[in-house]
Subunit: 503 residues, 2 copies
């Protein structure tokens, strides 16, 4: 052990071949722990090339020797630390931002400086998941935060990350999730970019849904790029379809997503903050926001949809973004495929104008793309939807999509070449009638149990959808699973949950 | 890998020599992970001899082979699992109690059944620290919970654990912390039990203080016992001084303590719930509650003290406990020692009636013990303090303390044999005057940096205390540290923080 000064110490790095999905872990020998007065669960600060991050101590009597520090694979990778290097540690002081968190929990109002201090410490890993959960709890209750605080939070999310510029205008479209399938984004991007509009689309991975747009597009091309690489892709194609998390746009958001994922619920205030901060960071000037409302969608009453609309328009106004909010009724999923692979196939079927393409997905894409074209004002007023449809029919959109796939390093494939899970099972209807509705949340539950979004080939294909006739014994939907265990798990849920309502 | 049924699977246990202070961790080989569709951070349920607990998956390519599960030392110990046994795992379903947490976060009122479901899932480790932080956040704001909800929470804390009976009456005393030192409990217990009153005292470890009573008493005797062993100790001596956490009284509390420890702040609602649930579980019938109020104590205004008083009396009434609440003014620490070792020495000096015993500590102990004796009504009305003093003077209290130490397996030592840290440093006064006040929170900060409560020998001795004269160059206080690093860290804080105010 080399002592640098009295407040910090150096330990030789030993790699421990463990990956965690959570805090940065280091392992110290119990003798060193005793020497420094440290116990398991203690927090230290790792100083590494001018960066600081909080690490949590596990202890051992044998895995590492005195003077060594065991570091798990993920932290080594994140900070580019090599085995046998010397890492510097110091005792952690409580970050000042905890005071702001406490103040908020007491029901007081925070200033911009206070909110910024919290978000900065989230980004720098000086606050941990538990601190973040405490800070996030008031976001569930709109009475707990002022409008200004929500604006400050959005601004802080944005300003603690990278801010990109692509020119003017920069178009974007966002759907407030909750509808399985609903993979309109890649189609809209292809249409809008086919008319030479800049539309650099970043998407998220699944939070409470079966698959996020980033998860789905990953079945067609890589989605994780640096901002320089994205600028290059956009310069070449006017568009991109990338995962926002691999950029440093509003980087706090990815940590908050993990925290809310625990609960399986995301409050709409938090959702608006994440969405808007990323739009601002991407330099968006024109935005169409789609809010599907339905009994089993994420937003299930129009009162709540209107609240969300008001909040988005407030934030758009604060940041100077021209926004159109569209609220539409949802009775079931959009498209036939649910889960990464099945959804990617749907998208390609629409763009390739296959005869068996899901018409509801095509229609909704045209509607949203048309509204965005109108908002941009590049065609005659009201001509947007007509122009959007034309782009699909004449193949311009599909051509644009191929350009994007290639620019992002993917391989253009036909829709029918998308791989689906080898363990399949067909669920047949026990009665004859018309499908009145599909229970989105229950359907998502089944698709997640099948392994989506981690397993790209897992998912469901809806052989029948809302409004269609079905006879007793006909196939309602098909499950695709990576393993018999997964299939069995999902079948257990299918037995318990009502998914199709047939009348 | 042996497959039991489709929903669960068995893996051979391999011990991994790592101790964590946080969630239960298991390590799976990446091949198995791929087979089951599991990634790092995934949650599984470990089924073990009719118990179920949530475990978090880390992954490895080398530490364990396919078909094996690496389990960290602490989980093996907790569940008495041996290496090479077969452990059963299944996929985790979200506990229903998350719905109750969500409801609370939306600002709604919970029923007893809902609150019970959350606390039961905390005790059974089906909810994790992040879920608990979300559930705990409303406890900071009294407007967020109804009186009934606080009662329900207390009841649920109590009813998810063991409930002990010792007879009637059962006396207890509790101090709402925040004053460094203030180690009156062992003295009061010795006095009250010396008059044949049953006083089975459970205490906590430090949350935001320099040392809890359980930490301090551990310098004299073991404090962790089963309930059967405690019954035995109480039968023998009428008393005990044990750590509540080693019992199964209100077991949820220990998990909540860890969560609040992260923030370094404990809301008073939570504090009242913990305290009362443990009193009820210990069958307490007569309780004296001490609330020190001062500018740098935990409770700093008398308005807040009165709120706490009202809440405690409400809960006492609900559960049929005779409670007297005493609010007293605090200008500085009580006693001369701060930290485990120095405080234990203070306690023994009072009980042994040494000439250099801290008189403020003695006085406060007599006051509280006297009030408790009065509440019990075993002497003439108002004679309590006189009788408490007599027990100290005639050595009955010290005799009782020796009985307790021996019954708990400790060794009776003289006050001057208590070990203190070998690295010492004396802080001298830079001016002449009278000590007006001592800043408790800053003092605690210094003592924690010295290593307390983990390091028993770490702490501070106040050579001068409030109200005393000091000359320039005289020693104000002495630091005791286990290592030069710790000493240096504390000295850094001493330079930055005002501790003594000399006028």
């Amino acid at each position: 052990m080399i002592k640098n000064n009295k407040l910090s110490f150096f330990l030789k790095v030993k790699k421990i071949d463990i990956l965690t999905g959570h805090p940065w872990i280091i392992i110290l020998n119990e003798k060193d722990c005793h020497h420094f007065g440290i116990t398991a669960g203690y927090k230290l600060v790792l100083k590494w090339r001018n960066k600081e991050t909080e690490v949590v101590v596990d202890t051992t009597t044998s895995l590492v020797k005195g003077g060594e520090v065991g570091m798990f694979s993920d932290i080594l990778k994140k900070y580019h630390i090599q085995e046998n290097e010397l890492a510097e540690f110091s005792f952690s002081e409580k970050p000042n931002s905890l005071k702001a968190i406490h103040k908020k929990l007491l029901g007081e109002t925070l200033t911009y400086e206070e909110i910024y201090s919290v978000i900065k410490d989230v980004v720098d890993y000086r606050l941990n998941d538990i601190d973040m959960a405490f800070f996030s709890a008031p976001l569930f209750n709109e009475k707990s935060l002022s409008k200004e605080e929500i604006y400050y939070l959005t601004k802080a999310f944005c300003e603690t990350g990278e801010i990109l510029k692509f020119g003017y205008p920069v178009a974007d479209k966002h759907s407030v999730g909750g509808l399985p399938g609903n993979r309109v984004t890649p189609i809209i991007v292809s249409i809008v970019a086919s008319y030479d509009v800049i539309i650099p689309k970043t998407s998220s991975r699944a939070i409470t849904s079966a698959a996020g747009t980033a998860d789905t597009f990953e079945a067609l091309a890589p989605v994780g790029f640096s901002s320089d690489k994205i600028k290059e892709i956009v310069k070449k194609t006017n568009a991109c379809l990338v995962w926002g998390g691999s950029l440093k746009l509003a980087p706090a958001d990815d940590r908050f997503i993990k925290v809310f994922y625990q609960l399986g619920i995301e409050p709409y205030l938090k959702m608006a903050v994440s969405v808007m901060s990323k739009k601002i960071a991407m330099g968006v000037t024109h935005l169409v926001l789609d809010i599907p409302v339905g009994p089993t969608a994420k937003i299930f009453d129009s009162r709540q949809a209107k609240k969300i609309k008001t909040l988005f328009l407030y934030l758009s106004d604060k940041f100077g973004i021209k926004t159109k909010v569209l609220i539409d009724k949802a009775v079931g999923p959009i498209g036939r495929g649910i889960g990464v692979g099945p959804e990617a196939r749907d998208v390609l079927r629409v763009l390739q104008q296959k005869p068996d393409r899901p018409t509801d997905l095509e229609k909704k894409s045209i509607w949203l793309a048309g509204n965005l074209l109108d908002l941009l004002g590049i065609f005659d007023k009201g001509a947007g939807q007509k122009m959007a449809k034309e782009s699909l029919i004449n193949g311009l959109a599909w051509k644009k999509m191929q350009e994007i796939i290639l620019a992002q390093g993917g391989k253009v494939v036909d829709s029918e070449k998308i791989k689906l899970g080898k363990e399949t099972f067909c669920i047949k209807s026990s009665k004859t009638g018309v499908i009145e509705s599909i229970h989105n949340k229950n359907l998502v539950e089944v698709v997640r149990l099948l392994g989506s979004p981690e397993i790209k080939a897992a998912g469901v294909y809806l052989n029948k959808t809302v409004g269609e006739q079905i006879k007793r014994g006909e196939i309602l939907f098909t499950l695709y699973a990576p393993s018999p265990e997964r299939l069995s798990l999902a079948l257990g849920a299918v037995k318990k949950l009502e998914i199709f309502r047939i009348v």
